[in-house]
């Protein structure tokens, strides 16, 4: 279970560039549930995932994952509990190293790395077995540098790596956004399959309303560093893409209204 309380992050505080990327976020995610995070550009979705993964230490608030208070842990230590797939298909793998070497790194995620041979025959067979499930023919190319693969293939492997050792939490940040529609659909399907199979707890940022409706069992909507809507259980089952878009519009209108009111008031008082 993931429990976030009062999470706040401001970039460039007390300067003209100040960005309140996360404002007092509370979010609890049940074990084994799959949650989508949607929201406009710059609403803080990636920042939320980065705060959980430990890319930076939050200004305030607590993050508890699987009974560990992790908000002060460095990024590499949080990786013992968390698997990640990034938006950029190149971010999750080491391009010059072979497929097998990349996967072998993931087979020891968060464990100590002994001075024994990494890629043995036995390990390679084990890798080939699981890579075969991707049905991309990659099992015959385990010694090729991973940089020679397409974005979709690399993303599939990154997903496999993130879940090779079952993580307490899987973080997906628009992991299909940089792919062509066909590859995107394939990775989305693969994501659902792996999450179902291993009963993973997952948090996925997406811009695709269709994905948000189809894949997960909960949708959280963010705006300006806050959670503005939350569709769970029955509400999630009923929700359709146009409902989400309507909600978007409503949130944005309310904001426009807020701003114009603020301006009016300012004009009156100054």
């Amino acid at each position: 279970m993931l429990k976030i309380q009062g999470l706040t992050k401001t970039f460039f505080p007390n300067t003209v560039n100040e960005v309140k990327a996360l404002r007092n976020i509370d979010l609890t995610i049940k074990e084994g549930s799959f949650t989508a995070v949607i929201g406009t550009n710059g609403s803080g979705k990636s920042t939320l995932l980065n705060a959980i993964a430990g890319t930076f230490i939050p200004d305030s608030g607590s993050i508890v994952l699987d009974n560990n208070q992790i908000d002060q842990w460095p990024e590499y230590k949080r990786a013992t509990l968390i698997g990640r797939v990034f938006q950029n298909p190149f971010a999750g793998t080491a391009a010059e190293m072979s497929i097998a070497e990349n996967i072998v790194m993931a087979m020891k995620r968060g464990e100590s790395r002994p001075l024994t041979m990494a890629v043995t025959k036995k390990v390679k067979d084990e890798i080939a077995d699981r890579v075969r499930m991707l049905k991309m023919g990659l099992e015959d190319r385990l010694d090729n540098p991973i940089g020679t693969l397409s974005g979709g293939q690399r993303q599939a492997l990154t997903l496999l790596m993130a879940t090779w050792l079952k993580p307490k939490l899987l973080l997906l940040d628009e992991h299909t956004a940089a792919l062509d529609p066909k590859s995107a659909a394939k990775i989305a399907e693969l994501t659902r399959q792996i999450i179902d199979q291993d009963k993973l707890t997952a948090l996925m940022v997406t811009h695709s309303m269709q994905q948000a409706v189809d894949l997960p069992d909960r949708i959280v909507m963010m705006h300006r560093g806050q959670i503005v809507d939350d569709f769970q259980d029955e509400a999630k089952k009923r929700v359709r893409t146009h409902d989400l878009i309507d909600t978007f519009d409503r949130v944005q209108k309310r904001e426009l209204f807020d701003e114009s009111v603020a301006k009016l008031l300012l004009a009156q008082y100054c």
Binding site: A53, T80, F86, T93, A94, R113, T116
Partner: protein, 313 residues
Amino acid sequence: MNLIIGAFTIGLILSLLSLGMLISFRMIKFTDITVDGSITLGASLSAVLIMAGWSPWLAIAMAFLAGSMAGAITGILHTKFKIQEILAGILMMTALYSINLRIMGRSNIPLLDTKTVSEGTKNLLLQSAEGGKNILILGWPVPVSDLAFFITSLAFCIILAIVLTRFLLTHFGTALRATGNNPQMVRAQGVNNNTMVVFSLALSNGLVALSGALLAQYQGFADVQMGIGMMVWGLASIIIGEALVGKSGIGITITGAILGTILFRLLIAIALRWGLNPNDLKLVTALFVFVALVAPYFFKSFSKKFLRGSNHA
């Protein structure tokens, strides 16, 4: 023949420098300038220890440790104190200049008639040469002591190359290589990339200092200036090695670096023989590295232009 054996021996000794630099420059992609200081550190420390009566083996072991410490400090300056990698290396290198002078107490220590790591090999050879001072190789008489040092350096080189290759293929070594490739991915797999950088620089500069220690024993002196330009030297050797054998696979890369260093040494011996002024050596080396770095881009844009031209025709 003596000249060739000499060039080979220095080439083998400097291979350790290249192997060290392979770890920093190629594996973790860290432009480490500490090298110029740590090779002198290895030379001066081992020279002083030998003069103080230490065994040459212990002396080179200490050189390795001292070099590792210097490398680790560069790494810490970069990772903990967020100093740019080049500046971190320059700081350490500059500090080492004074440290080396302190260690030696003066700018130059001659090692005349002191024992070297090749002592054992030399005695074996003397036995087989039945007391003679020379051994015939392809009809040329070669001094036993030279041959002994050649064989010892060769053994060093082969053993270290094998150990290093095996090491880089372990789980730990794989994580080390990935650190230079994609630190973000390495962190996401639960590895502290900063620790990896510090460790790699320690190992790298340990090897470089080892190379310096052997060089001092072979040349018969340690000099506070001897490290100047060594980094460019090592880089040139690595580039030649890559041109010779390519970059496919760890074992091949390591073999390439060794071959590259030896070939570079031979080329220099030949150039000097042909009358190249030794004072110009560093200029020539720098030019060579410049050309090697720029040539690939030049050829690419050249062939592009050429292709475009033919398209128009």
